[in-house]
Assembly symmetry: none
């Protein structure tokens, strides 16, 4: 999994992500990805055993980046409300700066062919549990709520909003800071 030309494999991952987002996993062929990355068809097989392995790696690393960010937030010892706001703000910022990344994660989460990576699942559970503790400590989260509740509220609503906007369910208007406040408020209320 080590490469001489670090750039190359990064290019592959980048183009793979972009193409998968725009054409779907099956729609993005190895040939097209390789061409976009200016790499030979066979190149990626020196790093990954197959196409799915490449995608899993991208998926895993994107999730890790996100989880790492949350861990940093958790380390900062903010009140839960503030923490949540920053978490969601982070999502919105990424959704704006690199929309493909958020869309990619959203796609993969729901893709039949890709499980949530085991290591990430453990991290996710851990994060939800810590968020729950933090919220309860601050009396921001209701006594009876569980980490699972945190999961479905904190990691569904914002992503779903971003996705709804992208698809134009009601509007394609770009998310504003008002939207950010609204969705944060909704999440906070939800966990009351």
């Amino acid at each position: 999994m080590r490469s001489t030309d670090t750039n190359k494999i990064e290019r592959v991952k980048e183009e793979a992500l972009k193409l998968i987002v725009s054409k779907g996993y099956h729609g993005a062929s190895i040939a097209e990805i390789a061409k976009a990355a200016n790499v030979s068809d066979g190149y990626l097989y020196r790093h990954y055993v197959n196409k799915a392995d490449l995608v899993k790696d991208i998926y895993r690393s994107k999730l890790k980046d996100f989880h790492d960010f949350i861990y940093e937030l958790l380390d900062a010892d903010l009140p839960f409300g503030e923490l949540l706001k920053r978490l969601i703000a982070h999502l919105f910022v990424i959704a704006k700066r690199e929309p493909e990344t958020v869309q990619f994660i959203f796609m993969m989460i729901h893709d039949h062919d890709f499980d949530y990576p085991r290591s990430r699942l453990l991290a996710l559970r851990d994060i939800c549990t810590k968020l729950l503790e933090r919220g309860k400590r601050d009396n921001t989260i209701g006594e009876k709520l569980t980490a699972e509740d945190v999961l479905i509220v904190v990691f569904s609503l914002p992503l779903k909003l971003i996705d709804a906007r992208r698809k134009g369910v009601f509007t394609t208007r770009e998310a504003t800071s008002t939207d950010l406040d609204n969705i944060t408020g909704i999440c906070l209320n939800a966990l009351r």
Copy 2:
């Protein structure tokens, strides 16, 4: 002249749904679907122009069933809280009785290759708008909330919970009436 066996195409749709749920759209081949439905490979092409057309039809009809149910609820003129509870309860019941159906809808909603059918999109907007009105009339939904907020709360959280359970993110425990009450409460709070 043989008369059309109306069961046949129903069998095809049923088996297609099941196989797609278990193996994904691309994983479920025409040959396999036909075999499971005890029908010839070419049979479905007498009803649909291609595989995607079949799947879209199933998708559309399942969504329609769901939307029809909600319209019935809306007609009943219940208070919003009760309406929401019944709506979510319905989802839970289906998720238990025909888990593939809910999973199928959940998959299709997030599938890159399938758009939300136009007619259903209009119905969905209409439903969210009506739910919003009802909630505001009852003072159950906050003044500033929008139909889009209703959308992401009412149609994301319960489905996401069902999906989380199926995947065993935290637990694979079957959803109980307590879970139902909890998630309803969360949704109600979210829309406060």
Copy 3:
């Protein structure tokens, strides 16, 4: 091969001919032919063993009509020049009145999948031989020429001209009486 509804099978033959001319033998499906003839898909199988059999029958009958016309001309005991002129004129008239018929014959003559029907081959040989005799009797055909020469001249040049016009090789201008005289002259010269 007898039918109760003579019209029906005639309609089938007519539509088959038209569709084959416009879409080719493989492009014209039984379903489409049946639909155009307002007949069931299975209908033609009560008259012919298969699709090819239907087409052969149409082919044979169209050739027979043409051969019959030539035999009538031969009976009229005209000088060869006049005979040839009338023969070619007949082709031109049909090409104008029912262009599909001439095109159909032209297509079938050159189609890999359809042999010239045996009975028609014998008639064709006979016709060429009689034409040769007539021409030699009149001193219109050179001594050394053969029935085969008559064949390639009389039955190639006019049809090829009609085809070239249809395809617009040089022009798509409709064949005039001048064209008729020209091509007749060419054929006569060819056989000198």
Copy 4:
């Protein structure tokens, strides 16, 4: 890196031509062609977008070879009679040496599914026009004749003779030099 085996694609074209001649375009399947060429099924799709594209390429190149030969003849500045004789002789030689090639061209010219390639059509018109000029210059072609007349005489009669022999309309006897002289004489007379 394996270098492209230039023989492979040539083998494919060769076998495709042979199989199409013997079984027709639709009768010659990709699988069979690939097998005959000792190549994988998918191989030809690395060179052509589909089956028709392969066949068009063969068609075009065979026509080009023939046209190139005629252009060489035209360059030689021979009297028209000699030029025509050599042209027809060339056809006879090829028909003997590689009978499939002539048959292939003859089939394609008359195939409903394949147009005469545009570039070849232009060349053909040019050739006929130049032949006409040459013939008129030598007083070998009548004043009133046109390039279209040259077309149907020069490019129909010899091919039709070859085809008639192959099919055994009158005889299957191989074309002799006498036949060559005869058909040349017929063509010359035709254009008088």
